[in-house]
Symmetry: C2
Subunit: 441 residues, 2 copies
């Protein structure tokens, strides 16, 4: 299956967090980028007179499909680096409540009623929403990881599963079993070791998780320093922060990182830097649950890599990378009192390249020959993208789901011009999700 995109702008990513836009064409062979050719243009679409033509790979000669991009942009898909996808069933179910009451009175009792089959359908709904926002893979923590992975495979979506193991269910042995099942399930699925959070998990479990990290040489991720209460209680229990504790347990020997990372100490920063750990920021959720604003500018200054996640739909409530990108820079600006900090280019790099690397998806981190064809089309001919002063800043500051022309995962067009091609009827998925919440009432 050969695909050709032509008459296109193409966003190329560089390791110094800059971007080049070229005007030209891209060829896809099955699920891999085979050829890119074009002439560099400015972010404002101006012709760069000195620019040499860019060419990478060997052109394909015949095509099963050809698409005139009409001057619109191809870019790498967004990576949603922290989420609980199947929590779609709790969207708008318990908003505007204090955190404790939200979690203990509303979320936990409902989660107790979930079946594996429920989670399968709720996942598919979440995957549809990802596709509308140009998200091509998720780093997902929820019950029944093999079921979540199966939902992704059935849709053609790429997923990295982790474990949400804690004191209230599951076991280290089950995490190991899921690790092997999900890693072997499909090219679209993988598993990274993790657990829920220090405040929900015994030291014995954490030690077991550390053992798995060692056995499989796996990175490790958990919710880390999301609220100040969590950090203070951890310090009371152990005399150290969640980062210090898990580091001392040997959990980061093969890397990894933390979700949220809002309330971190100088020593926590140092551990993240020394171990090469990723911060996954979740700005909308941190606002909505009144958790705080993460020190993103500090992470950049220390060269700690940041990726971006939506968190789950119960706490956000939507799964939209455009909103998260705007918040990542805008909240940093007001936090630091500096309108110049965390520029748009840094944020776009977080949402694409850093996200991919944090999730172990190095072959999805940019548009380049040999990389996986996880590609989105961005419609520049909408009022919010006009006039064209700067395409990258337009994407981060004024982009929206409305600009997502299509979302291609692993070379397959899963969402195109508002229509899904994931093997499920849209209305059936909505019907299933509504049946689940009605049954629980």
């Amino acid at each position: 299956m050969n695909t050709k995109f032509y008459n296109s702008l193409i966003l190329l990513t560089h390791d110094d967090k800059t971007f080049t836009i070229i005007e030209g064409e891209m060829h896809i062979r099955d699920n891999v980028i085979a050829y890119i050719k074009g002439t560099p243009v400015g972010a404002d679409r101006s012709v760069i007179k000195s620019a040499a033509s860019y060419e990478q790979g060997e052109p394909l000669l015949t095509f099963d499909s050809e698409r005139d991009m009409k001057g619109n942009l191809l870019m790498p898909g967004f990576k949603n680096a922290h989420t609980h996808t199947a929590m779609t069933f709790l969207r708008s179910f318990a908003d505007d409540l204090p955190l404790q009451s939200w979690l203990f009175d509303k979320v936990f009792p409902k989660e107790g009623q979930l079946t594996e089959d429920d989670i399968y359908w709720l996942d598919i709904l979440g995957i549809m929403e990802y596709l509308t926002s140009g998200i091509t893979s998720n780093f997902d923590m929820y019950f029944f990881p093999p079921k979540n992975a199966k939902a992704s495979v059935d849709c053609g979506f790429r997923t990295v599963q982790t474990s949400g193991l804690n004191n209230f269910g599951g076991s280290v042995e089950q995490v190991e079993e899921n690790y092997n099942i999900v890693n072997e399930m499909s090219d679209l699925t993988s598993f990274i070791i993790g657990f829920h959070a220090e405040y929900t998990t015994s030291k014995e479990i954490m030690e077991g998780i550390a053992g798995l990290c060692e056995k499989y040489k796996s990175p490790m991720f958990m919710h880390n320093s999301e609220t100040i209460t969590e950090v203070n209680e951890c310090k009371e229990r152990w005399g150290k922060t969640p980062t210090e504790l898990t580091d001392e347990l040997g959990m980061y020997k093969y890397g990894g990182g933390g979700y949220h990372c809002v309330h971190m100490s100088d020593n926590d920063f140092q551990i993240f830097k020394d171990r090469g750990l990723y911060v996954v920021t979740n700005p909308a959720s941190n606002l909505k649950l009144a958790s705080g604003v993460a020190p993103i500018n500090k992470y950049l200054q220390l060269k700690i890599p940041v990726a971006i996640g939506t968190d789950g739909p119960a706490s956000n409530n939507c799964l939209d990378m455009f909103r998260e990108m705007f918040l990542t820079t805008a909240l940093a600006k007001v936090r630091e009192g500096d309108a110049a900090c965390v520029p748009a280019e840094e944020v776009l790099y977080m949402a694409t390249t850093n996200g991919a690397r944090c999730m172990g998806l190095e072959d999805c981190d940019r548009l380049s020959v040999g990389k996986k064809a996880d590609i989105i089309g961005i419609d520049l001919l909408q009022p919010n993208m006009q006039p064209v002063n700067n395409i990258v800043k337009n994407i981060v500051y004024s982009g929206s789901k409305q600009n997502v022309m299509f979302t291609m995962v692993d070379g397959k067009m899963l969402y195109d011009e508002g229509k899904f091609d994931i093997g499920f009827d849209t209305q059936d998925v909505y019907k299933k999700a509504n049946e689940i919440i009605r049954r629980m009432q």
Copy 2:
């Protein structure tokens, strides 16, 4: 021209900031809502068994157009209560810069090059963007108000113009002239007295503006306490805050309010409360320019009415009421450390009813017989709106421009299923806007 919407959910607004959703039909005669009928349902679309059928007005008998809403929602259009529409030309032109450098090195020199004709086309581009976000009227402050008003009338869009008068151009006489021109231009246009801000304007001009308020019994609006520097410098100059100063000059005898209102004193709160003034909050702009987070919860506690604006596209950078609604509640939550404050219903009321009343558009403040047909259709059959736990919370927390099926202003469908019907070719408008920015380079 009679229009019928049927098989529809319809959002009815109550003065206690609650909403009822009914399932039924609505008839429009020319530009006015003539008839509403339906059966109340829960925000989760459940049947309310005890609910009596709702009927208002007299049904029309023949229709020029009928639309099957397929169970989707009709609601009042959003009111963008503070903006500088024609600043579309500076979108993504000077982001990620310190405020002073942004304003003095970038914005002001470019604005100096604008012609009235430029502003006309840049306005039309902004109006198109409003329509994509379900915004049916704007409260606009920029150069050449009659030209802005003309652009709106030509598109069929409703606008309230105010003056941005300051020391750097214009006169009180010109404001008076514009007041009369714009108020008499069309049913779609009106003018409320205003000036730019204390920090840009002499006391003589402010006194002149106060005289106009008295002469025309007009409310008065200005940028107020947007940054802490502005407030501190005002106190140094006058020994009082911008609110105190303008109140003492007699500017609020007939009401009005302030844009931004981020850094307000207890006495400022009291003046707003006593005078019945409106706060117009601009959360995205306040973040992006690192100005701060407005005390929205405090305003609610004091029963000071709040409306919502996008501010101009140079400082936001998009004109999207969904983003502003989410920020209005989410920033309040993190500011107060209280996930329960500023609930979704308050925010939806701000973005519709309060906005209309603040702008003097009482006849556009809700869906009710006799009110103007400024109506939007919200597509509930998108993944971000499913499942249906609560429609109002879905709109505020997970709604997006993608959910805007259509935007009707004054009974005319200006935007429908992604297509504009404003009397201008979309591509021509983009071309004009790009010609303007290229000419200025």
